[in-house]
Structures are given as C-alpha cells and as structure tokens.
C-alpha cells in the first residue's frame, strides 16, 4: 500500500476515534483500565532504566571533566539537562514505544484475527472509539507523569552515582541541578512526551486494527507498530526541538 493511501487511512482512523462513544461511564472505566494496564505496569521499568541511565550520564560527564579546571557542580548541571531535555522524554518514549506499542498492536491485532472486532461491530459498537480512544487518553495523561518520575529518578541516579564513586559531593551536585534552571525546558519535555504518547497510541492501534490474516500477521503488525512509532518519534523530536527551543 502506498504511503499516501496509508496516511489517508490513518487520518480516517484518527477521525473515527473521536466519534461519540456508546456510554461515557463505560469510557471512563476503560480509560482507568488502560492507565492500569499500559501506565502503571510500566512504572518499575521506567524507574529501573532511568536510575541506571542517570547514573551512567553523571559518571560519563565526570569522566569527561578530568583535569580539574571545570567546576564539579557542572556534573549535576549536565546530568539534569541531559535527563530533562532528551533522555526522559525521548529515549524513555522510544522504550515505551517498544513496550506499550507492541502490547497495543498485538492485543488489537489478536482481537481482529479472532473476530472480536467484528463482534463489537455487529453489536453496534464503534470498535475504533471503544478500543483506541481509551488508550490514547490513558497514554496522553499518564506518560507525562511517567516522564516526570523518570526525570526525578534519573537525576537521583546521577546523584547516587557521583556520591558512591566519590566524583563529587551531594552539595556540589545539587548546586549543579539548581544552576541556571529554566522551567520552560521541563515544559518542552512534557509537550514532547504528550505528543509522543499520542504517536505511540495511534500508530500502534492503527497497525493492530488493520491486521489481516493470522498469528504471523499479528507479529508483523506488532513489529511495524514499534518501528513506525519510533521513526515518527525521532522525526517529531527534531521538529519540536527546532520549533520550541530554537525559534
């Protein structure tokens, strides 16, 4: 299928997501369920990755400051900026595209090949609204919270690493974290995260929804969901950075 056809189908798919749901109360319950399934179940994963990557970023920064002419608080400063600007919003979103994206695509794809989506349609339920909208809302609400947590844990990982390795003191590191702090950078990170959450939810759902065939195709859809979500995240990351930080 050509790129333009796929794009057109994606746009129609998104417009169907926002048609009126059957029951609002059911929709709220589904959103909470998706927050639990897709969001809460990613908390430990995000904490684990953020803690260790934050530690590595601070140790690498320290290693690049050999010679002693640069102030040690710069370790905290560099770690903070690396975590807030790029690692938490972009890299964690890419990891979530793998974890959550494949989950969404395979669950919807399995529903498609086992006729569960047809069953919804025959009952008079709009399957796109019913299945996809709660996922979009859940991710757009919960991913920014996950990323805030990742920022905190990442910086904490950096602090613990420099203290245990003796590269710097806690006071120096915390001074670095506070040095030249621009709140807009956090807002920029959260804007990126929200957009990336939309990208992960919609692209993965799209590939799952249009699965055609059997178990093999579900696997292929899952792979496509991760690849396309990641590619779109990388491109959007560049465009948003240009738009929000450089213009």
């Amino acid at each position: 299928m050509s790129l333009i056809t796929s794009l057109g189908r994606y746009v129609l798919f998104i417009s169907a997501v926002f048609s009126k749901p059957e029951r609002r109360s059911v929709m709220y319950r589904l959103i909470l369920k998706e927050i639990s399934e897709l969001g809460l179940k990613s908390v430990l994963f995000v904490i684990f990755v953020s803690l260790f990557v934050g530690a590595v970023v601070s140790l690498q920064t320290a290693a690049n400051m050999e010679g002693g002419w640069m102030p040690r608080y710069l370790i905290g400063y560099a770690t903070r900026d690396a975590i807030i600007l790029e690692f938490s919003p972009t890299i964690i979103s890419l990891l979530l595209a793998g974890k959550i994206g494949s989950n969404i695509a395979s669950s919807i794809g399995t529903m498609r090949v086992t006729e569960q989506i047809d069953a919804l349609e025959v009952m008079g339920v709009n399957p796109v609204t019913y299945l996809v909208r709660p996922k979009i809302f859940a991710l757009m609400f919960f991913n920014p919270l996950l990323i805030c947590m990742s920022m905190f844990v990442g910086v904490l990982g950096g602090l613990l690493a420099v203290i245990f390795s003796g590269e710097s003191t806690a006071a120096e590191f915390i001074a670095g974290i506070q040095y030249d702090f621009i709140p807009f950078k956090t807002l920029y990170a959260l804007i990126k995260t929200t957009l990336f959450a939309f990208v992960i939810a919609t692209i993965s759902s799209y590939h799952g929804y249009y699965t055609d065939g059997g178990a093999l195709e579900v696997g292929k859809s899952s792979t496509k969901a991760v690849v396309y979500s990641s590619v779109v995240i990388i491109v959007c990351n560049y465009l948003l950075t240009q738009l929000l930080l450089r213009s």
């Binding site: 529903m111 086992t114 025959v122 009952m123 008079g124």
Partner: protein, 251 residues
C-alpha cells in the same frame, strides 16, 4: 423475516455472490450450506452489514439495510445476535462480563437486573457456576454456548451463526444445534446458520439455501433434501458413506 433480493458482491473484480435472492423465515432455523469458498461467509457478512453488496437489497422486516445510515444500522444491530465461528469472546473479560457487555452498552437496566439477565441466559444455555472463568479456561463447546448466551442477552429478533458447531465433537455439536433450534422457536427469532455440517442440516434445517459458486443452487427443507433431484446438492450432501446409507434406507 429477512429477504434477499438480487444480491451481488465482488472482491477485486471477482464476483463472489451473483444475483442471489432468498427469504429467511421468522421463527425458523434457516441454513446456508455450500462448499468452502462458495460465498457463504460473504453472504453472512452482507447480512450483518459488514460488507456492502454492489447490487440488490437486504430487507429486514421490510427495511433495506444496504443504504441504511450508520446511525440506523447501529439501531438495527441492537436487534441482532451473532455467534461467530470461534465464539469471538473477549479474552480480557470473564464469562459474566462477556455476556453482560451488550447490556452495559445498550440497556437501561440496573446492575442487579443485568446480572439476573446474564445468569438467566447462561442457565438457558446450560452453563452454571462459570461466571468468573475466562474464555481461555473453558472448552470449545462452552465457548460456543457463552457466545450464544451473549447473542441472546438483548432478546434479538435476528440470530446469525457462523458454523456454530465446527471443531466440536459430534455429541456437543448436536447439543448446540438443538439449543439453537429451541431458542429460535422459543423467542420466534429469524435464525440464519452458516454451516457445512450435514448433521446440522438433517437435524435443524427448517429452510435450507444451497449456494454454489455464489449463486442460489437449491432451496428447500431437510425433508426435501432426501428426494431432491439436484446433482450438485446430492454430491454435496451425500458425499459420505453414512449419508448414502441413510438415503438408501429412507428410500
């Protein structure tokens, strides 16, 4: 009653259904039979509004669904129950939630009435004390019965079944057939069953539509099949030695 008038449907230039006309009677089990690839499933999907035929009309008690707006089609679908080949139960829900699902979306009952209705429907299909099991924890026959319970929970006027006893042992298959026929008579539904199981044809075929290459090749009742002077039908129905013997004895 569902009336098909000159239905045609093609995919990628290949005509799957050709000028098909038939009447599915109310309060009877109407069977669509035919070889694999004859167009049975496409016809069923047209009846369900999942495929739109290029030509012809499909009248549900006089209302043509072919050009119905999505809003009106949705309203009609609340009167339709469907039993899919594999059951199509929602994996993430337990049995009770599966049967409860249409009620939650389309009825104004309170929760206790809904649960009573769910339990009534499960009991009606001879399932009890399975409410909290998940689809992965029950047998194929039980899945079919849960699917039937879900299909009848809203008291539908029309019931569609796609090969309801495929993959089941002969005993369970007959139980499912009989259950469908009982429910049809009990609720006066227009039941349309897609099958290529000859036991079903002989057990519950009140009205039978035999399709060959997308066209109506024969129509009649289970009693009429035995003496039908129609070579394709005879080849299809009496392909097994067992049915050849039954036919011979009958004569």
């Amino acid at each position: 009653m569902i009336e098909l008038l000159n239905i045609s449907k093609s995919f990628n230039g290949k005509e799957i259904l050709k000028d098909l006309s038939f009447i599915f009677e109310e309060g009877q089990t109407n069977l669509i039979i035919g070889q694999s690839g004859s167009g049975k499933t496409v016809l069923l999907k047209c009846l369900l509004g999942l495929h739109k035929p290029e030509n012809g009309s499909i009248l549900f008690d006089g209302n043509d669904i072919v050009d119905l707006s999505s809003k009106k089609l949705k309203r009609l679908r609340n009167q339709v129950g469907m039993v899919f080949q594999g059951g199509a139960l929602f994996d993430s829900m337990n049995i009770e939630q599966n049967v409860l699902f249409p009620l939650q979306l389309f009825s104004d009952m309170n929760k206790s009435d809904m649960l009573d209705r769910v339990n009534f429907c499960l009991k009606r299909v001879n399932l009890e004390n399975v409410n909290h099991l998940f689809p992965s924890e029950i047998s194929g026959g039980m899945k079919k019965r849960v699917a039937i319970a879900r299909a009848i929970v809203l008291n539908p006027k029309y019931l569609f079944c796609d090969e309801p006893n495929s993959g089941l042992d002969p005993y369970t298959a007959i139980l499912i057939d009989n259950l469908l026929q009982e429910l049809t008579y009990e609720y006066g539904m227009t039941t349309v069953i897609n099958t290529h199981d000859m036991n079903s044809v002989m057990e519950i075929g009140d009205r039978i539509l035999f399709i060959k290459d997308g066209q109506m090749s024969w129509q009649g009742t289970k009693a009429a099949i035995l003496n039908a002077d129609h070579q394709d039908l005879q080849d299809f129905v009496f392909s097994s030695e067992l049915f050849k013997t039954i036919k011979a004895k009958n004569r």
